[in-house]
Amino acid sequence: MIRSFNEHFLVPKHIMLSKEQAAELLKKYNLTLDQLPKIPVSDSAIADLHPARDDIVKIIRTSPTAGKTVYYRRVM
């Protein structure tokens, strides 16, 4: 039985970044928070992470070109 659909193989893995990791990411790409792609707080895929506004979520997806790819989205 699937308890949460995050366990489904088609749902990419969502991981919450720590404050330090978030700061590092913004520095690496020279970004401000509002330039990041967004994800709604209410998105079910991150419900288990108990997100707050302006948290950054790391998403590991499968990609047809690169095999695996990492994406970051800001909670809004």
Partner: protein, 871 residues
């Protein structure tokens, strides 16, 4: 630079207070100019409203013509007038409110209830309900006055209890309580509905409606000015009549007239109002007309951008120029200019150009002062030229220009070419570059743009030059490829049976610009392969199966591939730039699959591929002119053997079809998984027809293939099929064999009359011949039934192309528009114009498709070959 982010833009209705505040002048006189031609004071051309004469100063801001932006004036209307665009909004308010007290004609608790509903249901749906309720109310629940029906005679005339109302309109709306505004969706801080009935009119600045002085000296006014004159005139007459105490009837007539003029001033195409006409009978172009439509301010002036240094003309083909060149007519080349910067290195050269030729058009000094060069002053200017000058000269051979054909759906829709000034009036392009532009020569027009800066020129040359674009930036395989004639020609040239005399060979060598003739390789004669080899780089090595091989495998498969010893000469081998075995066909030159083109474009300087195309074009044009390529009806005749086979397989089909039909009718047919019995039956019938076709198709191909590989091949349709340049075995089958099953939406046609396709069939006949099978070929000619079946399939094809081009065109346009200003940054991220991030790594793998091999980052086969060599 100070940068601020726009948080939002708010559109609202301008208030009368604002109109008065903005106003530089209250317009009072209907006249524009006096007898002497001076603008009337407080008239519509008063210099307070801006200047249109050069040299004069604006009386409001004191600036000269180009600096003064113009200033608004105002016009006080003696009687309020309904703004024609807001008639409907006023009607809504009137329906839902009481004329006496101005409250919404519902009890307070209901009003509150509806106000709360706005948050969930939205203003529109709530307002609809309130209005419907309000209409039925007979007595106001607040002031107990009786409420009558309101009627709007569009756009501006109101009736209350079947009587025209004038003054009452504005009075009624003014009574409306601010706490009720929310129901109508108005914010009391920004809009007051009574502004929909205007007491003051804003008069636009002169700069917006300039008067024109004709050559005859007669001044002609702008349409807007004409309309404003009408308004002011009636406004004054109304005022005089009111002051003189004229009868109500006359005042109301004048009021209506004023209303008419204001309405047409705003929109001269208002429904129900006759458009105001100019003296000549032409309808006036008033405010709405200025903004609306294709020729309106938005689509024509704001969205429709125009550029300088560009030209447009019809394109015509010229296969004897290189692919990176474009033929520019002399007339156009003399009109377009390029700036050339004077440096100490080219100073003398440019001086000479100015003095001795008519190429220079302008000389621009270091202080940006521009001087036109002509016969009288060229020597003088040549003397003056020094470092820091710029000379604008006419376009000449070798200049770089951008060439474009709309619709620009592609990166390749705009490419850089070098100029070749030529005779004629059309742009000339090598037919090979038609493909990326999707151009043909049935009257297509194209544009050129001349880059004006060194950066622009360099960027064009590095990123957009035609010969660097042979490999597609979308899928990493050739897109700029030889056309059909080129492939057929190269095929004929490289056939083993093609031989040339010494004289003929000399001609071909000359076409390629060679001056020394090699030794003959076929006795006294020369093979086409030898001639073709002259166009290849000397270090080229390639080996692969040709398109001919593919076609042979379909009809008479080989057991083992003997590679270069192939008996059909269908295995290609190039060693050290010499074509030893195999024919050149679609597998070498074709789109995406062309291995030879791929190799030349990828591994050699781009001039190699350009020269290759240039030479092939010349040689092939000559070859096909001399030897000819033709089609004749006898090509499509088939032998008796095949005729017999044909009737045999069709008979078999009819038999099998009958068996299946019987089974279906008796109800003993079992169904396929996931399909109904009827579907299974249809599937079966389709399958039978397809199998029948296959049996014949191969036999025909085999029969037609043999003559190609003979000693003296006929150069006809089969050449095109085998070379892969045009047509396929299917087309041959349709002409010489039979058409087979007619298809409509992936099945047998089924829509037509009741229980049958066409009335020539018996009802409920679901057999082979009644289901759309066409046993005739185009050579035989179809019978009446077959003709209809064929048309059913043909219709679908026609509909599909129509629908899919429209739908996919629009989808593509939307996609392209949304992606157009995404940029790959130096850090590999993809960002929007405001540097919002879209992708962390471009394409998730950071690979530019143009540098891939057919979409793969690495060509594994080739890498393996290389590694083998190294071991």
């Amino acid at each position: 630079m100070l940068m601020k982010k726009i948080k939002g833009i708010e559109f609202s209705i301008i208030s009368p207070t604002m109109i008065r505040k903005m106003s530089a002048l209250e317009v009072k006189t209907p006249d524009t100019y006096d007898k002497d031609g001076y603008p009337m004071e407080s008239g519509l051309m008063d210099p307070h409203l801006g200047v249109i004469n050069p040299g004069l100063r604006c009386k409001t801001c004191g600036q000269r013509m180009k600096k003064c932006p113009g200033h608004f004036g105002s016009l006080e209307l003696v009687r309020p007038v309904v703004h024609s665009e807001f008639g409907r909004r006023l009607e809504i308010i009137m329906h839902s409110t009481c004329k006496e007290c101005g409250r919404i004609a519902l009890p307070d608790d209901k009003i509150e209830k509806y106000k709360k509903m706005i948050k969930t249901d939205g203003v529109d749906s709530v307002l609809k309900k309130v209005m419907a309720k309000g209409k039925t109310v007979k007595k106001c629940p607040h002031c107990k006055a009786t409420k009558s029906k309101v009627l709007l005679d569009k756009p501006t005339n109101f009736y209350y209890n079947k009587e025209r109302i004038y003054t009452e309109i504005r009075e009624w709306i003014e009574k409306l309580a601010e706490r009720d505004y929310a129901i109508f969706g108005y914010d009391p801080a920004r809009v007051k509905p009574e502004w929909f009935v205007m007491k003051v009119l804003s008069v636009p600045p002169i700069t917006i409606r300039p008067s024109i002085t004709l050559e005859s000296g007669i001044k002609s006014e702008d349409d807007l000015t004409h309309k404003l004159v009408d308004i002011i005139r009636i406004n004054m007459r109304l005022k005089d009549n009111i002051e003189a105490g004229a009868p109500q009837l006359i005042i109301e007539d004048l009021w209506d007239l004023l209303q008419y003029h204001v309405t047409t001033y705003l929109d001269n195409n208002t429904a129900g109002v006759p458009p105001a006409k100019h003296r000549s009978g032409r309808a006036l172009r008033t405010i709405v007309q200025r903004l609306k439509g294709k020729k309106g301010r938005f689509r024509h002036n704001l969205t429709g951008k125009r550029v300088n240094f560009a030209a447009r003309s019809t394109v015509t083909p010229d296969p004897f120029i290189k692919i990176s060149e474009v033929g520019i007519p002399k007339k156009i080349a003399d009109e377009l200019t390029v700036p050339e910067r004077v440096t100490e290195w080219n100073k003398e050269e440019l001086k000479k150009m100015v003095k001795d030729t008519d190429k220079a058009v302008y000389a621009i000094r270091a202080d940006e002062t521009k001087k036109r060069v002509d016969e009288t002053n060229k020597e003088e200017i040549a003397e003056e030229i020094d470092v820091g000058f710029r000379i604008e000269r006419k376009l000449q051979n070798g200049d770089i220009v951008l060439f474009n054909r709309q619709p620009s759906l592609h990166r390749l829709s705009m490419l850089a070419h070098t100029v070749r000034v030529m005779e004629g009036k059309t742009f000339k392009i090598n037919p090979i570059v038609c493909k990326p532009y999707n151009a043909d020569f049935d009257g297509d027009e194209m544009n050129v743009h001349v880059p004006q800066t060194e950066e622009g020129k360099t960027e064009a040359r590095e990123l957009m030059f035609v010969r660097n674009q042979v490999i597609s930036p979308r899928y990493g395989a050739p897109v700029i490829i030889l056309d059909e004639d080129g492939v057929s020609g190269a095929f004929v040239l490289t056939l083993d049976s093609t031989k040339f005399t010494r004289e003929e060979t000399m001609q071909y060598f000359f076409e390629m610009g060679l001056t020394t003739l090699s030794k003959p390789d076929r006795g006294k004669d020369y093979s086409g392969k030898l001639i073709f080899s002259q166009m290849l780089p000397k270090d080229l090595n390639l080996e692969y199966k040709t398109n001919m091989c593919k076609i042979i495998q379909k009809t008479m498969p080989c057991k083992n591939c003997t590679k270069e010893k192939c008996e059909h000469d269908a295995y290609l081998q190039i060693k050290n730039g010499q074509l030893l075995h195999g024919v050149i066909d679609d597998a070498s030159l074709g789109e995406v699959s062309g291995k030879l083109i791929d190799e030349l474009a990828r591994k050699y300087p781009s001039t190699v591929i350009e020269d290759f195309y240039y030479n092939v074009n010349r040689v092939v044009a000559d070859l096909l002119t001399m030897r000819g390529m033709t089609a004749g009806l006898d090509e499509y005749e088939v032998s008796n053997h095949i005729q017999k086979l044909k009737s045999k397989v069709i008979e078999e089909l009819l038999e099998d079809g009958k068996k299946l039909t019987d089974k279906y009718k008796r109800g003993t047919l079992s169904h396929l998984p996931g399909k109904s019995v009827k579907e299974s039956f249809e599937n079966g019938m389709m399958g039978l027809a397809a199998k029948t076709k296959e049996k014949i198709q191969n036999a025909i191909m085999k029969e037609k293939l043999e003559p190609i590989m003979s000693e003296k091949p006929k150069l006809n349709t089969m050449v095109m099929i085998v070379a892969g340049s045009r047509g396929s075995s299917i087309n041959l089958m349709n002409i010489a064999g039979f058409w087979g099953q007619a298809n409509v939406r992936e099945g047998r046609p089924r829509r037509g009359f009741k229980n049958r396709l066409i009335t020539l069939n018996k009802k409920d006949d679901v057999g082979v011949l009644a289901g759309g099978f066409i046993k005739s070929s185009f050579m035989d000619g179809m019978d009446a039934k077959e003709y209809f079946y064929h048309s059913m399939g043909g219709r679908q094809g026609e509909v599909d192309t129509g629908v899919s081009t429209k739908v996919s065109g629009y989808l593509y346009r939307r996609l392209a528009n949304s992606l157009k200003d995404l940029v790959v940054n130096n850090d590999g991220t993809v960002r929007t114009a405001s540097s919002e991030l879209v992708q962390y790594v471009y394409g998730e793998d950071g690979v530019f498709p143009k540098n891939t091999v057919r979409g793969k980052s690495i060509d594994l086969e080739e890498e393996a070959e290389n590694m083998k060599k190294q071991v």
